[in-house]
Subunit: 426 residues, 4 copies
């Protein structure tokens, strides 16, 4: 299924006048307060977030999974889904493949399809947290950190294979998320596990093409419940430094202990030029992987405030790879992603409204009350008209979710794919 | 120091046109979407939050306290400060006394002063977590829960005394916050401590006037670091039930373990008709007592969503006592309170915008995406014009903080009181 | 596979002398310090913990499951496994069935088998957190709390069916664990969900036989990640009170927010006569379900200290149902259970060593240092000889794990059942 | 007050026979299982922990402080207290001074006193979290990170002064704990604060004598409640690397977010040769600073397991500075410290019992069950006879707490110092 431009423009016509009113009024207010609204709109229009190929189906928990109908059952259908999302939102212009779940059968066909949908291939992701059928070695006790050289070599080779697949598609980065760790005190020798991991990452890094980046993700726990080899940003940063200039830390919002100040981590990494990628989701308890912005939207704004600051002030840090890394347990995955994309754009827009000069002054003067006011002024602004305007400008829908429902897209997908189609992935 | 009405009206004139524009545009938008804006404004204007008498000076931590200049050094000056706050915001129309810090010397004078400042006396608070000079018994090992009958009796008598003081002022409720608990496993027999507490509360309850309420606060830890006798809402609720119909649970936002779903607690208590009071603050780690809305504004909104729902649907629950219970470690206490009051009103306003009928429908249909959209629609609305309008309507300042600074109120207070005046309290 | 008594007694002979030395020395020391060692041994020998029928296979996480070989693939084989455990440890004299995973086909055969293995049927467990094949209604959006009456009725009927199955086997209690809750703010009306749950529980309670108990479990999150209908002990306690005298709260160690003081909850519930059951496991982060005692053995001891106190001082509280509720992701399930049983007995033994009279005195005198010393004295004692003696007395193995390995039980099971047999369950 | 050797030896005589029995039996058992008990005893006897000069008086919380009688009111009396502790335990052979609380008036006298008491001067500690009387600049908004150069320079100069004081006493290291951070989002520019801190530390480092070490402590929150400049080990490690070879990370047990795997941090730092110091205490909720081993003794053992491993396998890491950093809110400080020292020695002794060779084998074989058994075997051993034996060998008391009470040391101190003497500090 593919949207026609006319479907979008017809829809937009209906809300056009109301939108124009809202937008004009807000733009006028913002411009008077010193904001360059046009620049904000352009920044929003440019901002693109990758959708992972495994996120188009229903997720689940260890207690089970309630399936969703009309899931894409192959890579082509997954690209179609991302294409739909991108048509509606103009914010999902990239896809991030997980290997081996989504190895293309016909690279040219897949590239052409992506091209026609205006999608790029962002970071490719390896998987060494599950055993694949007929695999010689098992990752039950770890992959890159395993005490067995044979297992480590299999995991290294897999990552190198993933790079090769990515190269064929035009990807420029590899994301390594390791589930490695231990469930019980004593199970792992921490130093051996860390040293093995460092050596394995270096072996992968060695085969990384010159224009590629290696992203090293961290996570404090789950699926291991006592320790994780790369438990925090400090460990990831240390490993990235050990690998070399093309290695970076990747921050996933859900991968932190309770109460962690994530925005400070982001800021430190950008200062050091070592933040490579960013995974969006939200959570109340652990790595809950729920819709972006559904639980702690102010924290998301504060993080974006640091990201924007870094993008404007830290040339030492490269452009970031953005990806949604959420799980859709009870919502239609496409609706869930639309909500996530909206929340991301909202936080970004608000961060762009922060008056950085005033803030710097207030900070220098230790005017704590004013510092807070400056951030809150930006945050309290209703930026929905800006988001709609940016979409409009790019050919997207004024209200993506409303159009998605009006066009009964899920029903059409079910018709096309059958009720019980099932996406590969978790 | 007392504000002249003209000082406020002159200030308001300057911003009047811009405000009117913003308000009219928003009101128009809201009315079209089915909101009765006038009712919202009226509800906001009616909403009053008590300021505790100890919150007008600088707070501190166990590592020290950085003093603030021009603190009120007696009850009269404290009432003056609350009066200033109320003039500016029209939201702080009550004061909550802490005994023995703020025992009036001349009840009539104090009542007249409060009256002239348009302030009511809300709940009175007892203090059994510190030893007063010349006290016969020490609370080092607990008060209402102490193993020593003499200590328990002293603590009961103190609470009864606080009630009498409150009666003279027109208060209608007593808030009991117990620091009782233990620092080490084994220190307390949990059952003895709980039974003692229940009996002590019953003894206090016995002397409670018919038209009074008893609020039982809970807190999981601090100042005790292993256990607290009333550690959670369940314990408070159980004790309130044991005392009788006039006993209620009091919820303080900061008194919860990490990740607690506080809005659900609020909802449960209102369903059971047992939520009596509510203390506002915000926190990232523990009972940090920072400015309301400065850390988790969306959580505050969700809580208000339940409070509004309860106020509209739970006649079994009485009107609530609202109080700010924050500590002002590095901000001017009055500026801090202005920011807190604004954040409270903001959350309340947004909760009032939630379309409860649509929400009920979406909930019944398990349309999870729509449920989220409905809450987010209300939350994303920029309600600052509504707050300003409500203040305007009541004679407050369009922008209380700006006026506070323009009038250089703190400088005046320092002149009046001297730099090193110091407020009683923590 | 079934162990011969001679296999155990032969094994014990080898270690007998060394054990006798250790035991005599310890018993002598304890007796001198006022402990009645014989009574302790008898209490340990009497203490029996139920094994849930789903815990004999490999567990997993949402990221996958690494299978274990020789798993029991039907109820008969599961009982065999529990029988093996019980032969070795003499502590696992009960089994707790999960329905519909383990509905007996031939009740008489199953009862005879259990009898021959010396096993009782403890609490039966219902399952309304997954959809069964061909189920008319789905639990995707809740079961007993669902907004749809049809779903609630299906869930009620299922629980009533589980009671009937339990009756045929001689069970005397039903454990209800509800996954009901919500993933997003707004999804649930908390009050509706709670009221529905209360009414559904009452409907189940109505059909409860006179000599049965209803256990209501609580859990703050997972599989739902925003709210759980029965989120804490307070809610469970409230519901149990609403149901009646035969309804009780069930505490699962892993079902608490970070840093919760669980021993205090246990103590409160026993004081009120409302603690019905207890589920053992351990965790560092969330409901990790790892081996009992592997992470926080001192916390387990402190909990047992309250349990022992309650068993000795709270006749108002019934005998408790004990069950291991852990997941065996990377260990042989039987070895894991042996380690868990050992840790439970260890904590129980140490709690039995606490000098309750001395403790009461020290508590009354607020001698905090002495209180701690009394608990630590018991905890620091090496009680392994007591556990071995209790097993010896009951016909179990001096060292169950060593014998399990010496007899190569897993290898035998694999031979009997095949490598890829798989247990029903999660 | 000073203990006579005869007071200790007389006391020891009374318990000597019973101790000898217990020790011989245990030593015999351990030796049979391959432990070199003599080496363990020697290691225990050698292990010395510094007592901070501020820990001899009562601590408190922001809610108040309950004073303790007979507190040392000057440095001489504080050394006397540490001397008493060391006489009794033979484990407290060092003192760690906090400046400016404890600047010696007569260096020679203090050094002679320390010498006569067998005490060394361990790390000196600076204090830039409080304003001293007559200080020119205030640390209200930070010290080494402050936006004001004048404040930073004052803080740097203070640290340099502390080094000079330390040099006169024979200290060889400086511990920097920064309270710097922010209470509200926006208050600090994270990058400016971090860069300022790095530069300030480098300025201090520059004046560090060649044979000195600089310890950089980290802490996630408190006294600031939104952010701390050095929030975690990663930040400290980064700063230590930026300073140079003589700069190290210092780990304080209480300075971590909930559920942090501290033992892994210790292990990583030792692998990298960057763990310099270690502060002991215990906690359930935050930086509770309660008696070592009173809440999570198994976690302490696991940490010691990594420390022992590092001391045996990481020559790249220097000898560690050990200090107790607890607060004595309700216990006699000396009794509290005796309990802490006992708990430290206990954890150390058990870690020394771990069979590292067997553990390595089990880890290589991924025998998770065996790994756990090996750690638990060591942990479950009752090592109190080993601790007593080590003390006996060094001239300490068999049971320091019992002797402390028998000699009525506190009563004597109160007689000597008066009831209301008060220690400087928090």
């Amino acid at each position: 299924m593919k949207l026609q431009e006319s479907q979008i423009s017809d829809f937009n016509k209906k809300g056009s006048e109301e939108h124009q009113n809202q937008f004009d009024f807000l733009a006028n207010t913002l411009d008077k307060s010193g904001v360059n609204t046009k620049n904000v709109i352009n920044a929003l229009a440019k901002f693109q977030v990758a959708i992972p190929s495994w996120a188009l189906g229903a997720g689940g928990t260890r207690f089970g999974r309630f399936s969703f109908y009309g899931e894409p059952s192959n890579l082509t259908q997954k690209l179609d889904d991302v294409g739909l999302l991108h048509s509606l939102t103009q914010t999902a212009g990239a896809v991030s493949l997980h290997i081996p779940w989504d190895i293309p059968e016909d690279y040219n066909a897949i590239k052409e399809q992506a091209n026609s949908l205006n999608l790029k291939f962002d970071a490719v992701n390896s998987n060494t947290f599950q055993d694949q059928k007929n695999a010689k070695e098992s990752y039950k006790y770890g992959s890159l950190s395993n005490t067995s050289q044979a297992v480590r070599e299999q995991a290294i080779a897999h990552n190198q294979e993933v790079i090769k697949i990515g190269e064929k598609l035009g990807s420029k980065s590899l994301t390594v998320w390791l589930a490695d760790g231990s469930n019980f005190p004593g199970q792992n020798n921490f130093q051996t596990a860390l040293s093995n991991t460092e050596n394995s990452l270096k072996a992968i890094y060695k085969t990384l093409p010159d224009d590629w980046k290696l992203f090293i993700e961290y996570k404090p726990y789950e699926p291991n419940f006592y320790s994780t080899v790369i438990q925090d940003w400090g460990t990831s940063f240390m490993l990235a430094n050990a690998c070399g200039d093309k290695a970076y830390t990747l921050v996933d919002l859900g991968h932190h202990l309770p109460n962690t100040n994530i925005e400070q981590i982001v800021s430190t990494l950008m200062l050091k030029g070592k933040l490579g990628g960013f995974h969006f989701n939200d959570s109340k308890y652990g790595d809950d992987d729920v819709t972006v912005g559904s639980i702690k939207p102010y924290a998301l704004f504060l993080i974006f405030n640091e990201l924007v600051y870094g993008m404007q002030n830290n040339p030492q840090n490269p452009d970031l790879s953005w990806m949604i890394d959420a799980s859709h347990n009870i919502k239609d995955p496409l609706e869930d992603l639309i909500q996530s994309l909206e929340a991301i754009q909202e936080a970004y827009a608000k961060a762009l409204l922060v008056d950085q000069n005033l803030l710097k002054e207030a900070q220098s003067a230790n005017d704590v009350v004013a510092c807070q006011e400056i951030l809150q002024k930006a945050y309290r602004t209703d930026v929905r008209p800006l988001l709609a305007q940016a979409r409009l400008q790019s050919g997207g829908a004024l209200n993506p979710l409303a159009l998605y429902r009006e066009l009964q897209i899920r029903a059409t997908l079910i018709q096309e794919r059958g009720k019980h189609s099932m996406a590969s992935g978790l």
